[in-house]
Symmetry: C2
Subunit: 397 residues, 2 copies
Amino acid sequence: MITSFHPPQRTLMGPGPSDVNPRILEALSRPTIGHLDPLFVQMMEEMKGLLQYAFQTKNELTIPVSAPGSAGMETCFVNLIEAGDTVIVCQNGVFGGRMKENVERCGATAIMVEDAWGTACDPQKLEDALKAHPEAKIVAFVHAETSTGATTDVKAMCDLAHQYDCLTIVDAVTSLGGTELRVDDWGVDAIYSGTQKCLSCTPGLSPVSFSPAAIEVIKNRKTKVQSWFLDLNLVMGYWGPSGGAGAKRAYHHTAPINALYGLHEALVLLQDEGLENAWARHAKHHNALRAGLEAMGLTFVVPVAQRLPQLNAVSIPEGVDDAQVRGLLLQDYNLEIGAGLGVMAGKVWRIGLMGYACRKDNVLKCVTALDDVLGRLGAPVNHGVAVAAALASYGEK
Amino acid sequence: MITSFHPPQRTLMGPGPSDVNPRILEALSRPTIGHLDPLFVQMMEEMKGLLQYAFQTKNELTIPVSAPGSAGMETCFVNLIEAGDTVIVCQNGVFGGRMKENVERCGATAIMVEDAWGTACDPQKLEDALKAHPEAKIVAFVHAETSTGATTDVKAMCDLAHQYDCLTIVDAVTSLGGTELRVDDWGVDAIYSGTQKCLSCTPGLSPVSFSPAAIEVIKNRKTKVQSWFLDLNLVMGYWGPSGGAGAKRAYHHTAPINALYGLHEALVLLQDEGLENAWARHAKHHNALRAGLEAMGLTFVVPVAQRLPQLNAVSIPEGVDDAQVRGLLLQDYNLEIGAGLGVMAGKVWRIGLMGYACRKDNVLKCVTALDDVLGRLGAPVNHGVAVAAALASYGEK
């Protein structure tokens, strides 16, 4: 007979899920009510407002998709693209490759613009592609590459796309709530994120937002959206955008009620902290972590100007066994850090400082634990100096 | 400023979500761990075994899709169907219509076999369609129609489909855990369910299972699955089927960790009760509810032999305002019952007795509350007799 599963208390400093705020865990266990209950519909309206704040947008169609971030990505692509379309995808890591898969599975053509993993997408390369492909309808790229920790200048990319009459799809899975993101000011037409990164929530939902121009495209498609579940023409009947608390909601699918309680609580926490304060907090603790790791002699993959505070990719020192280190951190410290993905597998660690996990005690725990484990394995790093360097970054001894 | 959302304690006797067992709510709030954590992978293996038991199958590919039941439906269709295929869809309610949408969005042709809403699918009509359409590759139908409360003879339908070399897709959203369901004995090739019905869990996940013959079709497709998120060729790399606790898991998407804790707990509860005991419990309380409702003079939509115990569709008495009654039940009793869907909107109520909601106290609460509200509204029903009739069904006075 199988018995109840009781997970240990880990410290989650990988690429996500990140530590979940206890208030959010408690919210998940509140009583389930119906997905058409008038009180639930009120909560949905609040959720839309809270998400608009997090995304810094007035877009009416700003909702959580009832599935993880990859379904949010798919929502953007299947709704905006029809077979035969051309889409420019700027790739600088794993998730640009997933965008290409999405484009092709819609029967469209992906024009790939490649940049080195660990660097930003280059607007100049995008402009060259836009000139070479006047048939392109959409430009897609990742704001914060979770596989490398590099950030891209969203406004510069969107301005170019619009100059060439393209709409933009932006992956903000790792950026939302962690670093500056301004959907309206930057001209993003479709954006998706995840709940399990800088929002400190559990995985399973994907906040998305669509500009009026994107909605026009969706409403005027020649063909039906290939996914019934993700068809925004149907989803809008349940979530709005023009619903309002008094309007009648049409049943589409059964919303993940308790998961939405969790996201609502996460967004209330973000609202109460203030978005700019959350961004500043991620920067502050990143600086301390960086000081500690660099004091040990570890080096960052991404150039400073393009580096995300919430996803720290550092090279694994020569001769060190990636899996052994991560295994010891988990076994002895209940500390999870992330492995490399794709071409970076075995070469880098990805240390997350996301949402509730982005705290001083976690920074110190991480550098202490790494210092100990790498020391025991005889790795070629400087020992006993990391904590002091991190504390100095906080202005403390 | 928006504050935390604190839902009331409802009694959920609609078509789902149903009442969630408090043990499951508590499980949702356990500490989040990583989706590649060795302990999480162990939990996933247990989950597969528990789902195999619930579905009564040895199918290796038996997993929860990381999204609600409609995504489980889509998983079955997009993986087994390619453009140009012919699929026979037997429709006797809302969800057969959704199957048709799925078929057509795959670029395939749906041959519709229609039966009256509130009755079972007729195997004879299926055989006629199979004879008329030798090009058909798949037969799809609903085991337990959530929109009407009618059940269909799965084994008879699957036997016919196989005689004509078709695979079968079966919707078991409302049946799993509530009424007899034997995937292997009955010859089901692909099946999907939901967590928020007779499993008493929160909504958001969709258990699915695929036979070896179905997996062969998926592995030998000529074209890629149109959904990246739901592509089982990729999902299998994370969930198995041949994984085993020691095998390496490939990252596909981030699993909804805490929602899976809840489903694991729900399945442990089902295992501990015993599947046959759960089926018997649903039948017992249905009989009591039926006795009470019929004593009031309310009539069931579905003929006795085709009636589901867990979803009771009763006709709304002449001159009674559907929404007013449901509104008073919610306002005065915190009791949710379901409205009619599709052509049955405004004509029937759907009273659920699913999972943890399927208890004697709920049966008595429901007939008492209905008796009171219908009495206050002067509805043409017999008052003051329902509770006694329900108690008599339990063998009590």
